[in-house]
């Protein structure tokens, strides 16, 4: 998959974090779509069909896990890889992320370089048709 035209949906309620991710991803050559709430994230996933979704788990309204469940429950969207972004030290977040259907998991604070590596891995693997 070529880098140009690869769209990443960033679902994140904190403006600074959105800004950082936008700058990081844009500078890495990705196209960035932004959502502030879980609802908006699901809606944008449906209408914009991004190539990958970065999902903050702590969101106003329904949280990132619920948003991921809805996206993965939609047959048309379920092949889009979702990377959960969680706060540190909340024990069991990795398990919860996997259970919600997330393909990968990044704990804050993440190093921008490590995040880019993870994004490239997910995009390269593609998504298994039906995550168990």
């Amino acid at each position: 998959m070529g880098l140009m035209g690869t769209r990443i949906l960033v679902t994140e309620d904190n403006e600074d974090n959105r800004h950082i991710l936008r700058d990081l991803l844009t500078s890495a050559g990705y196209e960035v779509i932004e959502a502030v709430t879980g609802e908006e994230g699901v809606r944008l996933a449906e209408t914009q069909r991004p190539d990958l979704i970065l999902m903050d788990v702590q969101l106003p309204g329904f949280d990132g896990y619920e948003a991921t469940r809805r996206i993965k429950g939609n047959l048309a969207l379920r092949q889009i890889p979702v990377i959960a972004v969680t706060s540190y030290a909340l024990s069991g977040d990795d398990v919860k992320a996997r259970e919600a259907g997330c393909d990968a998991y990044v704990a804050k604070p993440f190093s921008p370089r490590d995040l880019l590596v993870k994004i490239r891995e997910c995009l390269a693997q593609g998504t298994p048709g039906a995550p168990s």
Partner: protein, 510 residues
């Protein structure tokens, strides 16, 4: 019935001391009564024996009297029917008087016997009969002797003949006395036997009653004391295990009742305190969790922007600014480490850190740690070695937390060692993983070896600043190992390096 009695004793408004004393005194009183009854029965038996002896004597005397009466009548008829001399008459009169004196002696004997055995009306009647007969007979004999002395033998004989029924009567009466006394003797023996049986049953009854009462009192009083003690023991166990819902219901109105009331009071107070503490602890944990999240969010932004600038996302960075930004980054990371450690520790202290148990490989854990710190060791030109036998069994525990512990120990070793090596060794023995992290650093003095596991303490009492770190790492590592039911310790000689050990059960169950 048994329970009812125990409760009855428990409800008595007296001290346990008073109850025990009362029971003891009751027993003593019963024993004294038993002794008195025994002595009384014994003395009654003695009196009866004495009375029997008296009776025996009376019978002998009655027999003598009967014999005397016969002899007297015989002598009277012989002496007066056959012509005799003055000497015989004197003898006769003496004999009649002798009979009278025997009779008087006998009457006093009969009175003695009556004192023990009660009056016998028939006997008294017979005695008065004898007395009046004898009076008449004495008079008649005296008269006849006088008449015969004066030579009127025929008249005397005639008078004597007419007194014959009187003599017969006297004989009959004495005979009757003997028969009566014999009957009395037989009745008395029978009575004595009955009295013996009666007193035997009395003594047995008192003894059995005393033993029974002693057993019942002992049982009831001891259970009225032991029961509440057991209840309170169970309640204390419940309190110790953190269950404050129950109360002890003790009916005692003695020291134990007061103790139970105090226990209930303490239980309530503790329960309330416990609830308050739980609430406070929950609030504290929630506060810390929220707080650390709120603190982290802007900090993440600071670190994120800094890294983006350093990565030249926003263009070239002059060296001077880069240097400053690197300082910003280091301080930010330190602050983040502090926040994370404080959160970890507060969760452990609040008992909220639950282990995520899964199967893990100690070799993988060591490998992960080595990979994480390799670059740090290389920067300081330290040799980093890892010795893990290939046949180490798989363990069960919280892999992420165990990794955190080992990372902390190895990180510290690298941080404090200026030259030489840091070695990780893992073995298994007795169902425990034994992991050692040795360094060739400055070592830790004996007095510091205990202190370093406490919050915000590093060796030699210096602040955490010179060597970085939060001062919470070892404390957290210790708590995590303890959560796995293991332990951490250190061996070190100042100037000769240190070895930190931790031992963990291979299989950790919940």
């Amino acid at each position: 019935m048994r329970k009812w009695l125990i409760q009855l004793v428990a409800r008595v408004p007296a001290t346990a001391h008073a109850k025990l004393l009362a029971a003891f005194l009751a027993m003593v009183a019963l024993l004294i009564t038993l002794g008195v009854v025994g002595l009384h029965e014994l003395s009654t038996a003695n009196k009866r024996a004495e009375a029997l002896v008296n009776l025996q004597q009376k019978i002998v005397s009655y027999r003598e009297l009967q014999h005397d009466a016969l002899v007297q009548n015989d002598s009277v008829s012989t002496a007066l029917m056959v012509p005799s001399g003055e000497l015989e008459y004197e003898f006769l009169l003496r004999q009649v008087n002798q009979f009278r004196s025997d009779f008087d002696r006998l009457r006093s004997l009969a009175k003695d016997a009556a004192r023990f055995l009660g009056p016998v009306p028939q006997e008294n009647q017979a005695l008065s009969q004898i007395l009046s007969n004898d009076d008449q007979l004495i008079k008649i004999v005296a008269y006849v002797v006088d008449v015969v002395r004066r030579g009127h033998v025929a008249e005397g004989r005639d008078r004597l003949m007419r007194a014959a029924p009187l003599a017969d009567q006297l004989e009959l009466s004495t005979g009757k006395l003997v028969v009566l006394a014999d009957a009395e003797m037989a009745a008395s023996i029978k009575q004595t036997r009955e009295a013996h049986v009666h007193s035997r049953w009395m003594v047995i009854g008192f003894a059995a009653g005393s033993i029974g009462l002693a057993l019942v009192l002992g049982y009831v009083i001891s259970w009225s004391l032991i029961g509440p003690v057991k209840q309170m023991d169970a309640q204390l166990k419940r309190i110790a295990s953190g269950d404050f819902s129950d109360r002890v219901e003790v009916q005692n109105r003695d020291e134990l009742g007061a103790l139970a009331a105090n226990l209930n009071h303490m239980n309530e107070e503790l329960g309330q305190l416990y609830q308050q503490l739980e609430g406070a602890s929950r609030h504290k944990s929630a506060f810390l969790a929220n707080m650390s999240h709120e603190l982290r969010t802007p900090l993440n932004a600071i670190l994120g922007y800094t890294e983006l600038i350093l990565d030249k996302i926003y263009g070239e960075v002059p060296d001077k600014i880069r240097e400053v930004l690197e300082r910003v980054q280091n301080s930010g990371r330190h602050l983040l480490g502090l926040i994370n450690d404080v959160l970890d520790l507060s969760k452990i202290e609040a008992g909220q850190l639950t282990l995520a148990l899964s199967d893990y490989s100690m070799a993988d854990v060591a490998q992960t740690v080595v990979a994480a710190v390799e670059s740090l060791a290389a920067e300081k030109k330290l040799t980093l070695t890892m010795t893990v036998p290939p046949d180490l069994p798989r363990g069960r525990g919280d892999e992420r937390r165990i990794t955190q512990v080992l990372l902390n120990l190895v990180g510290n070793a690298i941080k404090f060692t200026e030259a030489g090596e840091v070695a990780i060794r893992a073995t298994v023995s007795d169902g425990q993983f034994l992991v050692a992290v040795s360094d060739t650093g400055p070592g830790i003095s004996e007095q510091d070896q205990q202190r370093i596991f406490e919050e915000f303490q590093q060796g030699d009492g210096s602040s955490t600043r010179p060597k970085g770190g939060t001062g919470l790492g070892l404390t957290i590592a210790k708590r995590i190992v303890e959560l796995h039911r293991g332990r951490v310790w250190v061996q070190s000689i100042l100037g000769h390096g240190s070895t930190f050990w931790f031992a963990l059960p291979v299989i950790v169950e919940r």
